[in-house]
């Protein structure tokens, strides 16, 4: 704001005004983008490293996973034997290095309770979580963004008040409670929709027999071409998608509203208004696009919330995805599995954040050129 800052950044260091600063700026800009992408990419690694390290040492702080899982259920000498077999009696740091080495090779460990590689658990159940997340995001975009624009447009008037309270309710309600309420009303109350699961047993079986099932039930259902199967899958998806989608929609609504109010108040929107551009066009074009950049950046940070929401939603609806599985392993006190899934989720979050940041940077012409 002050001239001091301007002077220091030197960005407006062109006092004469006539010389064309564009080539210089453009070069500076693209060089900036290149190094930004690089730095941002390199930043993923320390992030993941820190997370992995934290999780590892935290999990081991209380002891080895075998004792945690079986302690009290096995005689002490047998337990010690099992611990030695698994190598948990070695120095912690040795185990840590081994763990890191395995991770680099894509080995996230093997579950204790059902002896499956964690990576396999991910590929089996991850797709279900992906499906749920996609549905939820669709709901969130359809509900959150237009309503956010509407709220910004009718700011401080009645629709805005209603929408804001709606948004706050959406994210003030724990996603599992939203799920419970939806189940109470639409499933056990009105009986319109199924209570839980990704599909009814018949459908599940039918989908198993596909030649190459993707695991994404809706896609698989379309592969069968059977309308009953498709509608069955969709019916099962409605409530979980709504529960998780509304949570995210509330966040999107608020985000869009805040940023749109910001851009609607800017000089360039006012300038466009002064030239007779219609209000609806100001909203859709002039204010929306600049608001999008911060919105996307923040949406990136919502990925973590979405994932946590997915864990809780899956538990509520017995949606057999990663989150549901995580809860199962937690109940079974299978901490190797828990650690594996948590680390994987953390990696997913870190990578998604990176991708979202890149998208945000690419959308911004100030970075692109």
């Amino acid at each position: 704001m002050t001239t001091t800052t301007t002077e220091r950044t030197g960005s407006s260091a062109d006092p004469a005004g006539t010389p064309d600063p564009a080539p210089r700026l453009r070069r500076k800009g693209s060089g900036g983008l290149g190094s930004y992408l690089l730095v941002r990419f390199l930043l993923i690694f320390p992030t993941i490293f820190i997370l992995v390290t934290t999780v590892f040492f935290l999990m081991r702080a209380t002891g080895d996973p075998i004792t945690a899982a079986l302690g009290g259920r096995l005689p002490a000498d047998q337990l010690a034997e099992r611990v030695r077999e698994a190598g948990y009696d070695r120095p912690l740091f040795t185990q840590y290095l081994e763990y890191l080495g395995n991770l680099v090779q894509g080995d996230f460990g093997t579950t204790l309770s059902d002896r499956r590689p964690v990576l396999e658990v991910l590929t089996t159940f991850g797709i279900a979580t992906l499906e749920l997340t996609v549905y939820a995001l669709i709901v969130a975009f359809i509900v959150g963004i237009p309503l956010g624009m509407l709220a910004a447009y009718s700011r401080d008037r009645f629709p805005d008040a209603v929408l804001r309270v709606f948004a706050i309710l959406c994210y003030a309600t724990p996603v599992f409670f939203t799920g419970l309420l939806l189940k109470l009303v639409f499933a056990s109350g009105l009986g319109w929709l199924p209570v839980a699961g990704r599909a009814s047993t018949g459908t599940e079986i039918e989908l198993q027999f596909l030649e190459n099932p993707t695991g994404f039930y809706l896609i698989d259902a379309f592969q069968t071409g059977d309308w009953d199967v498709i509608s069955d899958v969709l019916e099962h998806a409605v409530l979980p998608a709504l529960a998780l989608g509304l949570l995210t929609a509330g966040i999107f609504l608020r985000l869009v509203r805040t940023n749109m109010i910001g851009t609607l108040g800017t000089g360039y929107v006012e300038a466009a208004r002064s030239r007779g551009v219609a209000e609806s066009r100001l909203l859709r074009k002039h204010a929306y696009r600049p608001a999008l950049i911060p919105i996307i950046t923040v949406i990136g940070l919502q990925i973590a919330i979405l994932l946590v929401g997915a864990v809780l939603t899956e538990t509520t609806f017995e949606w057999k995805g990663l989150g549901f599985q995580l809860a199962e392993y937690l109940q079974a006190r299978d901490f190797v599995a828990v650690q594996g899934i948590v680390v994987l989720l953390a990696v997913i979050v870190a990578v998604t954040n990176f991708i979202v940041d890149i998208i945000a940077a690419l959308i911004d012409p100030r970075v692109r050129y």
């Binding site: 001239t3 220091r8 006092p15 005004g17 700026l25 002064s274 030239r275 002039h286 600049p290």
Partner: protein, 561 residues
């Protein structure tokens, strides 16, 4: 024929504290093809009045009276006040267009400029993409954007500040409106750029036949461009006259006071001479308080971007009791030099001796005792005080830090003295910064800077955020205190006239280099460096006839470039 006819306009705003009336009974007419300047200081209601012509007021505004806007060909008339929705949009941009103060914020950063120009066209008729583009290129060329066919697809950040303002003007001209409302169109720009934009606005009138409503606080700009002037004060028009009459024979006391407050070039010569006579013999031989030799300050570029050389090989010195005025436009490095002297910015190369301490490679620990002997006044009165401390606590801060007083309460008598010295009532000490006006805050800032009776005072644009009349009083105070206390000073400003008023010697900075240095009479009277000449010629003076002469001179200089 009048294009805008304002009758008995009254604008009020609903607030918690009741209704506040910003504009009272304003009656004003703008004739076709004339430049009407509305002049006034902050809060005079000039912007609100101008915005009402386009119906661009917030929803809380209540407007009474009539604002009749005629189309350029005179066939159509609308009273804007009762208009809303589609009817209002039809008028906006078509009959009257607006140019805003800050070109960087009035252009949408994520759309190419061509698209933005086309938006205005599209709002008022059917244009194909091709037609709109052709029209945009045409209007860009006419406002002097080089290579418009190519640049039409560029984004705002790819243009300099002056070019951005040209684009904003192009947007306004695209629909060929009868009147252009220019709200402080050059305030955010450097003087040399300002001259060019004023030239362009003049062409808007001459070549495009548009009337211009020019809102400004700068009397030099008024003298340069306006045909007629309306002076506003506290929501009312106190005087309306043609430009020559207003400047030569202002009637209203407020106008007289306003004109008297405007610093003029050449006023300083007399003062400088007077100061010089009072100096003791051998004064020139005293060790300088500040001595810069080949001073170089570089801001390292981050992320592989090139370094930015803010100050490049600058040498100067300030002797005890001397005021050095440092002039330059934004990016010239003037603020950087001030900060380096105060130890806020590292010296990269060369030497900078401040009160005998070498700043190149300075350690904060060794410099701390020297700080006691330096005062600093910052540019922005809004942020130079900790909002959580009272003025008295803030002014006591240097006394407490340097152990002259145990705590702010013990320092209070001295604080009261200081406040009195800067002509603030003692009771103001108990107030919080936001309860003071900008001018009052700058005076308190001066009190704080002088608390330890420094040998050197650095003032970084201390008055640039203030209204002219407030500025005049602060400058007067500065001069008075300097005379009494005899400190040496580095006075940094972008305004030649202000510097001229106070400084014994003037140094002109251009892109980090010191291009000229000398007494006011030398630098302003017979500038040697082409940049100084250009800078001087660009500065509009508050006298229409004199300014017309200067403009011719400026044209000649520009042609020679």
């Amino acid at each position: 024929m009048s294009v805008v006819d304002i009758k008995d306009l009254q604008i009020s705003f609903a607030t918690d504290a009741g209704t506040v009336t910003a504009v009272h009974d304003v009656t004003l007419a703008v004739q076709a093809g004339e430049v009407l300047a509305i002049v006034g200081e902050s809060g005079s209601g000039k912007t609100v009045t101008a915005r009402s012509i386009l119906g661009l007021l917030p929803e809380t505004a209540r407007v009474r009276g009539a604002v009749v806007l005629s189309s350029k060909d005179g066939t159509d008339e609308h009273d804007v006040v009762p208009l809303s929705g589609a009817k209002l949009r039809e008028v906006r941009g078509q009959d009257a267009a607006m140019v805003f103060q800050e070109p960087s914020t009035s252009l949408n950063p994520v759309y190419p400029i061509g698209w933005q120009i086309a938006e205005g066209l599209r709002a008022h008729g059917k244009y194909t993409k091709k037609e709109a583009r052709a029209k945009a290129i045409d209007v860009l060329r006419r406002v002097g954007i080089p290579d418009p066919e190519h640049r039409v697809d560029h984004y705002p950040h790819q243009f300099s500040g002056g070019q951005k303002q040209r684009i904003v003007i192009a947007q306004a001209l695209a629909l060929d409106p009868g009147v252009i409302i220019a709200d402080e169109p050059t305030t955010a720009l450097d003087v040399t750029v300002q001259a060019e934009i004023l030239e362009l606005l003049r062409r808007c009138r001459d070549d495009f036949g548009a009337a211009i409503v020019l809102i400004t606080h700068n009397m030099g700009v008024v003298a340069d461009l306006a045909d007629r002037v309306a002076v506003m004060y506290q929501g009312r028009i106190v005087e309306q006259a043609d430009v020559r009459t207003l400047f030569s024979a202002p009637k209203d006391p407020y106008t007289q006071q306003l004109l008297a407050a405007v610093p003029r070039l050449g006023q300083g010569v007399e003062r400088t001479r007077e100061r010089a006579t009072r100096r003791a013999a051998g004064w020139e031989r005293a060790a300088p308080v500040v001595e810069a030799t080949d001073l170089r300050i570089v801001y390292p570029g981050r992320m592989r971007r090139p370094d930015f050389v803010a100050v490049d090989g600058v040498s100067f010195s300030i002797r005890p009791g001397e005021v050095l005025g440092l002039v330059g436009e934004s990016g010239s490095g003037k603020t950087t030099i001030g900060r380096a002297i105060a130890g806020l910015t590292k010296v990269s190369d060369g030497s900078l001796a401040v009160l005998g301490t070498e700043m190149n490679g300075m350690k904060e620990r060794t410099f701390r005792p020297v700080r006691e002997r330096i005062g600093f006044v910052f540019q922005d009165p809004a942020s130079s005080f900790n909002p959580l401390l009272t003025i008295a606590d803030a002014v006591a801060e240097p006394l407490v830090v340097h152990k002259r007083a145990k705590d702010p309460r013990a320092a209070r008598p001295r604080v009261d003295e200081l406040l009195e010295a800067v002509q603030l009532p003692k009771a103001f000490g108990d107030r919080y910064p936001h309860e003071l006006s900008g001018g009052q805050r700058q005076r308190a800032s001066l009190a704080r800077a002088l608390a330890l009776q420094p040998e050197l005072l650095i003032a970084d644009e201390p008055t640039s955020a203030l209204d002219v009349s407030v500025q005049a009083r602060v400058l007067e105070l500065f001069a008075e205190l300097q005379r009494e206390l005899g400190f040496a000073a580095l006075f940094i400003s972008h305004d030649l006239a202000v510097v001229d008023l106070l400084a014994d010697r003037i140094a002109v900075l251009y892109r980090g280099e010191l291009v000229e240095e000398g007494t006011g009479a030398e630098v302003l009277g017979a500038p040697k460096h082409p940049y100084t000449q250009r800078l001087l010629a660009s500065l509009p003076v508050p006298d229409p006839d004199e300014q017309a002469r200067r403009r011719t001179h400026w044209d000649a200089l520009r042609a020679a470039d």
